[in-house]
Symmetry: none
Subunit: 165 residues, 2 copies
Amino acid sequence: MNIHARREEIIRIVREGTVHSQDELLALLRKKGFKLTQPTLSRDIRELGLAKTPAGYVAPGDLASVTPITTFTPIEVRQERLEHLMKGSIKFAEAAGNVVVIKTPPAAAQPVASALDATPPEDALGTVGGDDTIFVAFRHAGAATAFARNVQQIAGLSTRRSARA
Amino acid sequence: MNIHARREEIIRIVREGTVHSQDELLALLRKKGFKLTQPTLSRDIRELGLAKTPAGYVAPGDLASVTPITTFTPIEVRQERLEHLMKGSIKFAEAAGNVVVIKTPPAAAQPVASALDATPPEDALGTVGGDDTIFVAFRHAGAATAFARNVQQIAGLSTRRSARA
DNA sequence: TCTCTGCGTGCATGAATATTCATTGTTTTG
DNA sequence: CAAAACAATGAATATTCATGCACGCAGAGA
């Protein structure tokens, strides 16, 4: 019935505290007024992609959520950091329209996105990073392709290549 | 006996392929010559901090990659999961240039984005998911509109027609 | 309105994982 | 060289989690 509200609450609970079993989570949900049983919870957990670790359940989105960044680091340091990051953590970069898509190893997208955000390329409008993917939006397609080429060069990628690994 | 070698091997196995149960992992270890039983493996897993996700066990450092349901899940399973998720958790889908924007209920974006990432649509470059919004970038605007339409249909959204009886 | 269909759910149960307890092999200590 | 102290393990078992099945409710269409 209130399946979405329920799942939202599950995420919230798991983000805030530590839950070691479904029964425990079940109790918390019931305390909040949700009426459900363990099998339903099990299905919710599967759908949400929650992982069970020795330290309790964790939400995958915890590490993949979009985050805007601002920094006060001196610009030359930022430049350096950006290049360094790009050299090591970029597996793929391609322009599509006025957007550039960059692929990194798992969990590496956020640092790169942060650095990009701190030192925006020419004509860049904004950046969002997921877990292993970054989008950079530009005003013009031309700026996008130029930036993509630039990234490919710095990262040492052949200008034509497929990602995923 | 060679507890360290064994645990290293466990990490290696989990990094390379996908393992869905301890029994499965147990069999792999035995094939490699290790002699142990499930309880021991359970303890190893706890010590190593491995997490069990709907997509199998993952190493702690790879926890962020919980996201990719990717790995080696059979394609038909992924397809099914994706369709299922789309049916229930998509409120809006529209193409804008070569990007498709998808809206979901709160907290539902990550699972859908994961599934999308695991079964990329034709000509898709990458996916980024926030809390209730997903961006999917395509090589061409055409692919984007096609995908948007497809999503709308599967999700049961009115594609534009005004119908009512 | 009355089907028909499909989704969400709980119940019962099977499968997977964690734990208790006893045993064995190994290191430390007298 | 015992013998105690400890660590690693397996067998049995408890606990936790997943799933097949059936039911009820809600929306689409006749």
